[in-house]
């Protein structure tokens, strides 16, 4: 590694730790309805929104109503996005006259963008018109992200309130986080991206003559506005097929650094907001530390694997699938961050990474996308692991387990284990199905364990609502479009509903005051415990699957066999 590589990583860490409390306390003000400077700019829009959708912003609901509102909102999103795609040719802003999209691809994409997965079975520049990119996909980039924030806000209220069944107003949470958090950040970020050379226009594609004398079509479009939210909202759906490897989407090492950082920005700051809203900043930092340790460990393994001498090719930087302008570190950091945070944007082909670096990406997603995780989603996923940890280990202090003074009973455990079960089910059963069926196997481009990894990666990515691809797998088939679409749905709502149920159940409980008999959830012991439970309960299930994929491939690579 060169000094610049190390500098890049250290700068990343410093900025992460530095900006977390800044943005975190700002979001605390936004979500608790306190005064903040953005009210002057967008306050009128908030009031207008409530008037328009006829909602009383102060009227709160119980968890069931909250969940129903959320589901209806997301269902409308799916239907709307599905229809837009299937009637693309009739819609404006389509200079390339792109055709209507097949129903199963449209279904897959609709689900993918609504669930914050942004798995793309299609190639952006040859499939989607500007209209769909703007009105359909970009809009969902915003609202799918704030859906995640809304859920974690409900959870925070469930934990901090007592003896009530009200956990907030979904519409208020949605509006406030869009207007005061995502919108300002995205506007700011897209301006910076345009400055770095990301395209933002409505022109038709340009045809140029290359130096070799061949013709090349250069895609255009309103990319910067979509890419900003793609990173900030941990969406990851690229404007172009090559995603952040494309020079118009991610032109410079600096834009690359900012894009990586933008992924972690809100999920990391939310940990601080969480602590602040629960009245204990330490709790927030505890979660941050757990996430940070898991992130750094994964990054370390990936960097080690990528910088190690390759037994087949010797000690040269393995640049296959990587962009020369980002280098090994810029690509590895991106890959770890994007899989940690359920973003799914890529600036390199994960398929071409060493088996271990590829495995780190998979484990990051298998653990449930809780290493910073998707906006809001990472934190509520972490709360599930906290509940399991508190329940398993909390008994060892000799009291009914409790978290933040809330007793963890049968219902919470049931919901937490259900959320866990749903993702395991989605990943394992569908990977197994694809691994034995001809329509599953026919999409493979690689043999041996690497082919297996491709299938495993696809379903893991869909279940974790990540959306990144291992590539090498032709996923735009009927089988993969439908199965992955289904997996994305259960990976998203199969977790959200149990989480909201937990929030509702916790809100009803009384709060046991802190004492020296309380199981502490804000110290190093708890950090170690939580990591242990995440790895053993969340990760161990995938031990056999990983053994047959990346582990075997790594061992074979060491004896000189590659795929």
């Amino acid at each position: 590694m060169k000094t610049i590589d190390i500098f890049q990583i250290i700068l990343f860490i410093i900025l992460l730790i530095g900006l977390t409390p800044l943005l975190g306390s700002y979001m605390n003000k936004v979500f608790t309805g306190n005064k903040h400077f953005m009210l002057k700019i967008f306050g009128w829009l908030e009031r207008l929104t409530y008037k328009f959708i006829k909602v009383n912003p102060d009227e709160e609901t119980n968890w069931k109503k909250y969940a129903v509102n959320l589901l209806i909102f997301n269902l409308i999103g799916i239907v709307f996005l599905f229809l837009l795609q299937t009637f693309q040719s009739y819609l404006p802003l389509n200079p390339q006259h792109l055709a209507d999209i097949t129903w199963h691809s449209a279904f897959n994409t609709a689900v993918s963008f609504v669930t914050n997965t942004n798995w793309q079975g299609y190639a952006g520049e040859t499939t989607m018109s500007y209209f769909i990119q703007l009105i359909g996909l970009t809009v969902q980039n915003f609202v799918s992200a704030v859906t995640g924030i809304a859920v974690i806000l409900a959870v925070i209220r469930g934990i901090s309130r007592k003896t009530t069944d009200k956990i907030g107003n979904f519409w208020t949470d949605l509006t406030r986080s869009t207007l005061y958090v995502l919108l300002p950040l995205s506007i700011l970020f897209s301006v910076v991206l345009v400055g770095q050379g990301v395209v933002q226009n409505f022109k038709s594609y340009e045809t140029v003559q290359t130096l070799q004398g061949t013709q090349q079509v250069l895609p255009m479009g309103p990319a910067a506005s979509q890419i900003a939210i793609k990173q900030i909202g941990t969406n990851g759906g690229g404007f172009f097929n090559a995603n952040s490897a494309h020079p118009y989407e991610n032109p410079t090492p600096f834009s690359n650094f900012l894009q990586i950082f933008a992924i972690f920005l809100i999920p990391s700051a939310l940990t601080y907001t969480y602590g602040k809203m629960l009245g204990s900043v330490r709790q927030g930092w505890t979660i941050f530390t757990v996430m940070f340790i898991l992130f750094i460990t994964g990054l370390g393994i990936s960097l080690y694997a990528e910088y190690s001498a390759n037994p087949v090719f010797g000690h040269i930087p393995m640049m296959e699938g990587k962009e020369a302008r980002f280098g090994v570190s810029g690509s590895v950091l991106f890959s770890v961050v994007t899989t940690d945070a359920s973003c799914g944007a890529v600036n390199a082909m994960h398929d071409s990474f060493t088996p271990l670096a590829g495995m780190v990406c998979m484990i990051n997603m298998m653990l449930g996308e809780i290493i910073f995780g998707g906006v809001g989603a990472g934190l509520y996923g972490m709360v599930i692991f906290i509940i399991l940890t508190v329940f398993i280990a909390g008994l060892m202090v000799g009291r009914t387990p409790e978290y933040m003074g809330k007793k963890i009973g049968a219902f919470e455990v049931q919901m937490a284990i259900l959320a866990n079960l749903v993702t395991s089910f989605a990943i394992l059963i569908f990977t197994a199905w694809a691994a034995v069926s001809s329509y599953g196997l026919s999409s493979l481009n690689n043999a041996g364990p690497h082919g297996f990894s491709e299938i495993l990666y696809a379903f893991t990515s869909a279940a974790g609502n990540n959306g990144s691809a291992f590539a090498g797998l032709n996923a735009n088939t009927l089988f993969y479009n439908l199965s992955l679409g289904f997996v994305m749905l259960i990976g998203r709502f199969g977790v959200i509903i149990p989480v909201l149920a937990i929030a509702g159940s916790l809100a009803k409980k009384n709060i046991t005051p802190l004492s020296s008999g309380t199981f502490r959830t804000d110290n190093w012991l708890f950090i170690c415990l939580l990591i242990g439970v995440i790895l053993i309960v969340g990760g161990l299930t995938y031990f056999p699957a990983l053994s047959f994929g990346p582990v075997i491939e790594h061992l074979l690579m060491n004896s000189g066999i590659i795929f």
């Binding site: 007592k162 202090v397 049968a410 455990v413 284990i417 089910f425 020296s516």
Partner: protein, 692 residues
Amino acid sequence: MTTKQNKIIFDKKILLQAAKDSVYKLKPTLLIKNPVIFIVAIGSVLTSIIVLIGIFHADFSSFNLQIAIWLWFTVLFANFSEAIAEGRGKAQAESLRNNRIQTKARKISGKQEVLIFATELKKGDIVVCETGDIIPSDGEVIEGIASVDESAITGESAPVIRESGGDRSAVTGGTKVISDRILIRITTEQGNTFIDRMIALVEGAKRQKTPNEIALSILLSGLSIIFLLAVVTLPAFFGYCLNASGLPMSDNLTLPVLIALLVCLIPTTIGGLLSAIGISGMDRLIQRNVIATSGRAIEAAGDVDVLLLDKTGTITLGNRMATDFFPGEGISVEELADAAQFSSLSDETPEGRSIVILAKEKFNIRGREVHQLNATFIPFTAQSRMSGVDYISEDGKVHNIRKGSAEAIRTFVQNNNGFYPEIIQDIVRKLASQGATPLVVAEDNKVLGVIHLKDIVKGGIKQRFAELRKMGIRTVMITGDNALTAAAIAAEAGVDDFMAEAKPEDKLQRIRDEQKNGHLVGMIGDGTNDAPALAQADIGIAMNTGTQAAREAGNMVDLDSNPTKLIEVVEVGKQLLMTRGALTTFSIANDVAKYFAIIPAIAISLYAGKNAVGPLSALNIMNLASPQSAILSAVIFNAIIIIMLVPLALKGVRYKPVSANLALSRNLLIYGLGGLIAPFIGIKLIDILINL
């Protein structure tokens, strides 16, 4: 206690019975109550069928047979742990029941005595018991005094005194009168007596899963399903790998291997021991002579974070003692002591006796017989709030000596046209502020001085409260004393808070307030007016000697009627929860090693190419001899760890009163880290043994 416990665990008869019961418990309707073990049982059946089919097709596999045998053992060991936990109580219950069936009652009907079976007794019947008789049912002594051997239920061989009236009137059926004669009024219907309840409890007939057990069962079932997913998808993954390595599909994983993997991964250790832990928690309470009405109550005991403790008997010795005399102006201390002793000669209260003794010890004033001195004793009444003597002096005049509260004596002196001096008022105030009870002595219209009556705080109680504080439990002292006195005793005993001049309804209100603030409250009580508070508290322990109303309102009964028992009950509750948590952690941590045993074993042929072993054998970090012995070792370890942990489940993890953090670090180190490492060593050892 430990030796006694060990004796019970390893009692041959119980072991034999438990072994029989573990086979009986194979009944599917019983097994299904424990989902984790039920899965193992299904696996055992399937594996056995495969072995039989193999024999039928002349394709016998000794490996499959061994797997089948050890899977059956896993189920049996789990059943055994439950059976032995029940057995310990059952043995006790059995002898109790025999006693009860044979016991005859001497019922008084009219003026006659009729001999009937104890089981025919009704509430309100009166029976007589003499030396050697077994008390036929629960009741209250209404006449006489007797020493009773309660070892049948308490295990304590020293006899106790039971007498009519007062605190020690309750007797329990099944205990034996060893001297004297008493009349007993039966207070409980048959079928609901103490012994009936105890039999039902220890036999598990009424045992229901507690809330925490339910939550834990859900977690264990959920984990089992997740591991089931991991195992059922394995042949698909494996098949892909076989295909990719150019091996025939017929090499795919066999069902017995998959079942073995599943059984190793699901939390069988805690699943198998869960009910044993619960039953033995109940058992440990019984050993401390406390009977809980439900397992839920024991769990709640671990959660209690506020204890309401009566001052008298719990924090202080029941009796106040005279420790000093403070004479008034112009009175010598001997004069005061003499008068005080004289007024107390016939006072049988402990306070009165202590005054006599103090006067004797300090000033060598001998005791006198009151009637020899032409004196009449005036006993204490609630109205006068004084006691004393009236005597006729040599000059024939009648004198009245009184001792009592400052207020009462002031009135007494002023009624006799006397004067209540300021200095006495000062002494009284000073003593009260020290937590003492000042007793003012007066003769006729003259105040002689003040006796210092002191509450004696029990030895070691302060340290006990400090321990409780470490465990995060707040203690609140309840007393009828005034605030000044209460504060002083509270400070001396080291309680966190106190309630002075508390009435029964204040107790109830206090409990409600604490509960509203999220606290769980424990209290112990005996009186009828304690009943509402006992019912409201999360843990209400009624003393065995207490009134029937109190015994019914609480969710536990303390046979020893020892108020400090509350603290022990809390400890039993905590220990129960800790044991559950420790074994759950242990069980889950075990999985890591099992993966490392089984995955390389089943994947040995994959991508092997020309080599004998494939690349995944690199994961065989324990260097187990062969794939078959690796799988077998894991299954055997999984089975015998259950039986090895039975003593721990029965005795509970070692308990120390420390803060949550310390307890956690300690248990985590032993059961978390231990659970991670132990199976690596265990499986390796078993592998070495079976390959000898």
